[in-house]
């Protein structure tokens, strides 16, 4: 009927999806290591419009043929939210003084070419879910479970380089910039090495899939690399610091206000179509 009515409604649905992403970002504004999602809109594929039974004659193979369809041009049927892109920028580091907080600082890694684009690599801690799956996280906000194993706030086991859980028997442990966990011994000058954190890096973090509970699943083709071995990997691990979420509250609220107004504008467009149809009904009334 009136094609634009559907475009207007698709605009409303797309803004609704964007609002979902924005509210989720705002709720996670204090979640350590949370990376915000940006909603990307895309136009529906274009359709070719034709005028049917045209009065103008067209000529095909030397014959004139009246009443045939004639091309008018392309028309888009609206918009949809194509993807939510996690934005892997470094979050602010805040000092907590708690030995169980470890933050990754990788803002100085140089962009690498991945799938024909320049993407900044990103580093992650390796954790194991209670189902035994290996996942990755930026949340270095840890504690000990009842077996003295290092766990995230969600209960995922933090893994060492060999893919095993890390058991810590002493609260006074240290994590150095190279991810080595040490505990003090009876000799104050000697520290015992317990384990080394499994810190991995990926060249294209956009292929990290958010699974919820602050963990990511890797969907890329190549295996993630060990960040400690990688050449030129400029990063730091900081114990006693927390990486804050990279959600910007001002930006989020401004985006929400924009969402609201775009939503309203699409509604007004739809109402204009509605009135057109109403007028049509009036004309037809006897």
């Amino acid at each position: 009927m009136l094609r634009g009515a559907y475009s207007a409604i698709s605009g409303m649905i797309a803004q609704d999806r964007r609002q979902e992403a924005l509210t989720n970002n705002l709720s996670n504004i204090h979640t350590p290591g949370y990376k915000r999602d940006d909603a990307v809109m895309r136009s529906f594929p274009e359709y070719l419009l034709q005028r049917i039974r045209d009065q103008e004659q067209i000529t095909v193979n030397g014959k004139t043929m009246p009443g045939q369809p004639v091309k008018i041009g392309a028309l888009s049927h609206g918009v949809y939210t194509q993807e939510l892109i996690p934005y892997f920028s470094q979050g602010d580091l805040v000092e907590t003084g708690n030995p169980f907080d470890v933050a990754i600082y990788d803002a100085e890694l140089l962009p690498q070419e991945a799938d024909g684009r320049l993407v900044k690599p990103s580093l992650f801690f390796t954790v194991q879910t209670r189902d035994g799956d290996v996942r990755y996280t930026r949340n270095g906000n840890w504690t000990l479970d009842n077996e003295n194993k290092l766990v995230t706030a969600e209960g995922h086991l933090v893994l060492n380089e060999n893919g095993e859980p890390i058991q810590i028997e002493n609260q006074n442990f240290t994590v150095d910039a190279d991810g080595v966990i040490r505990v003090p011994t009876d000799d104050p000058n000697v520290q015992e090495e317990v384990a080394r954190l499994a810190l991995i890096g990926v060249n294209n973090p956009l292929l990290m899939v958010k699974e919820g509970n602050n963990v990511y699943r890797w969907e890329g083709a190549e295996e993630p690399f060990n960040a400690f071995i990688a050449q030129d990997a400029k990063f730091e691990l900081r114990q006693g610091y927390q990486e804050r979420s990279n959600v910007d509250p001002t930006q989020t609220i401004a985006d929400m206000m924009q969402v609201l107004r775009l939503y309203e504008a699409n509604q007004k467009t739809f109402q204009a179509y509605d009135r057109t149809l109403q007028n049509l009904n009036e004309i037809g009334r006897l």
Binding site: M12, Q15, D16, R17, Q19, E20, A21, T23, N24, L26, S27, N28, I29, H30, T31, P32, Y34, D37, Y80, T81, Q82, E83, L84, I85, P86, T96, G97, N98, N141, T143, L144, N146, N148, A153, E154, E169, N170, Q171, T185, D186, L206, V209, K210, G212, N213, N214, E219, P249, T252, I253, M256, M257, V259, L260, Y263, E264, Q267, Q271, D274, R275
Partner: protein, 298 residues
Amino acid sequence: MNTSYLNTLAGMHAFQHKMDVISHNVANLNTDGYKRREATFSALFTRELQNQSDANREEGRVTPFGIRAGSGARLGMTRLDLTPGVVRDTGISTHLLLEGPVFFMTRHNLSDDPANREYEFRLTRNGAFKLDAYGYLVDDQGDYVLDAQQDPVQVPAGYELHVMNRGDGQAYIQFVNPKDPLDVIDPNVQLGIYYVQNPQILKSVGNHQFTLPDEFLDEAGQVDPAGNEYIDILTGGNAVVAVEGVEWGIHQGKLEGSNVDLTKEMTDLLETQRTFQMSSRALYITDQMIGIANNLRG
């Protein structure tokens, strides 16, 4: 749209909980031996929506197919912060201060009925003890403070409690006559000082006391007064008598204040409250969107 509502609500719930934790810390600013808790957040689950029908039409896409929409945040954990509190001099002989990651042990009666002698062991950092009518060392709720054998400490009438470190890592108890410093009773027992390897498993039971969770205790935490099960109960779990390698100290006539830093708590409170406000703003915006959808018909 309901999702936007629920995302915001989940966030607001979490922020409210954090404000609860902060106000509890602030309320205990002057509670001796109080250890603050610190609330941290965790993201909730993610839903994956497959809204793409045709992969060929997804040109320029940078992430794997589908939309992964989160569903807000929750309170992840409230971690116990065991940094030492401020030291306060009182000069009272039954006031004890602990240094290092160790606790006193008290015996808490579970019932007021004299015939029912069920009790459980509790750990505390608050050394504001006093003597009851029979000379027993009790904490401010009247629970007995225990020695290394899990027995109450009775100070004979006319004597004062002295706690001294003889350099072998144990806190020995002596009773001294204040009028005659040479009149000393030495029962050769040590005060029960307990080290908890993983203090994060401690359960707050109010009145600045902690217990171990039930999975670390036999028979739901209750101990037969005649039995000697305490060693099994405590070492089988996580609390053990002060061990080598753990540095600790005890001081008499001093008290440990709370480790709450008012400036930090107020900063956190301000930040959380502003985020709460912003979330309610987001809720309002979502509500307006729903209103717009309802008025689609004009």
